[in-house]
Symmetry: C2
Subunit: 209 residues, 2 copies
């Protein structure tokens, strides 16, 4: 059930003392996706928004340097101390990987073009933090998918973080479900037509995927 009470909710289930600027509980709109299927959200290679919460301070990082690790809920991404979120990532060991759809493309790029050092990105970009179930970092209500993650390794030599997906949420009521991909030169590519070759690779797929 979605509940919004003024600007601060302390729910019975609260396990965090983080004051959210506007705090929802995870709603009926957000359905759990079985965690063994969470890799299917990241495998296409969409641009993602990574949220962190360092004490009371939430931030959002726009990221395209991600990788699925096998048919598992384990993922990798690359970032370093040049990003404001780096400190929160290394300090808390937690984040949420939120996946925006194509209608949020411009906002997503703008989020990546400013720094959390000077900007409250949730406020500036009118995004709504939702309290996650297992991590201190917030979900982003406006995104199609959110994956709560715990960092399990940090390969400093290569600036690679390895993360385990803990819980995945999708907003299945959302009309726009197309992700978008960064070219890396300022252009982006929206998802196009879907091709079904499931029959050919069925023997490769783990049970339940």
């Amino acid at each position: 059930m979605l509940v919004l009470i003024n600007t601060l909710v302390i729910a019975a289930t609260d396990r965090l003392a983080v004051p959210f600027t506007a705090c929802y509980r995870i709603s009926n709109m957000m359905k759990k996706l079985p965690i063994q299927k969470a890799f299917t959200l990241l495998e296409p290679g969409p641009v993602v928004l990574v949220t962190t919460a360092d004490g009371g301070k939430q931030n959002i990082l726009t990221l395209s340097w991600t990788m699925v690790m096998d048919f598992t809920p384990r993922f990798a991404f690359l970032t370093g101390s040049w990003n404001h979120s780096y400190k929160a990532l290394t300090k808390t060991g937690e984040c949420v990987i939120a996946i925006p759809t194509v209608d949020l493309a411009k906002k997503t790029v703008q989020i990546g073009a400013c720094s959390g050092a000077e900007t409250d990105k949730f406020k500036k970009f009118k995004l709504t933090p939702l309290k996650a179930s297992k991590v201190s970092a917030p979900l982003i209500k406006e995104c199609y998918a959110n994956i709560e993650c715990r960092i399990v390794d940090h390969i400093k030599k290569h600036n690679i973080f390895v993360l385990d997906g803990l819980t995945a949420w999708i907003d299945s009521n959302r009309a726009e479900k197309r992700f978008f991909h960064a070219v890396g030169d300022g252009h982006f590519i929206a998802d196009g037509k879907i091709i079904n070759h499931r029959r050919i690779m069925l023997s490769k797929l783990p049970k339940g995927v």
Copy 2:
């Protein structure tokens, strides 16, 4: 200049003693892409074909678990000993990352559904190996892009290979230039419309990109 002589060409520039089943020299059709732009081929997260050459034996691996590492020609991908190409990758330290377009989607999935242990994939799937300029692994003529790569690290704990792109080639004459992305459950997504947000992120882009 593209030259095909029967089934074996020993060009003046040959630096390899690898007999190609059908050997072209890199043609005028394949243009060099400045290596600092090679990441723009992989950053969207397309399905790729990784070629290897272990002595005279060439192979192709279908892969979707790749990651761009910063605005550089350094990439990561994940594979392990469960793949026939693993031995050639670790032995030679070289490969080519070829990027197929959406017209090759079915073939690409089929390539991933069989093993190089029993199959000559170039022959079975009627693909043409092109001699690379810096590595023993072949380019794939039918692909839009090919990046010659050298493995610079192998993080065995996570099955991650780190690679440096050495030379990148694109077939700019190709009419079909749309890549495609794996969902991971047997569905694939073709590239859709292109969105230009270059102005917003211009300050983030390295010179020349």
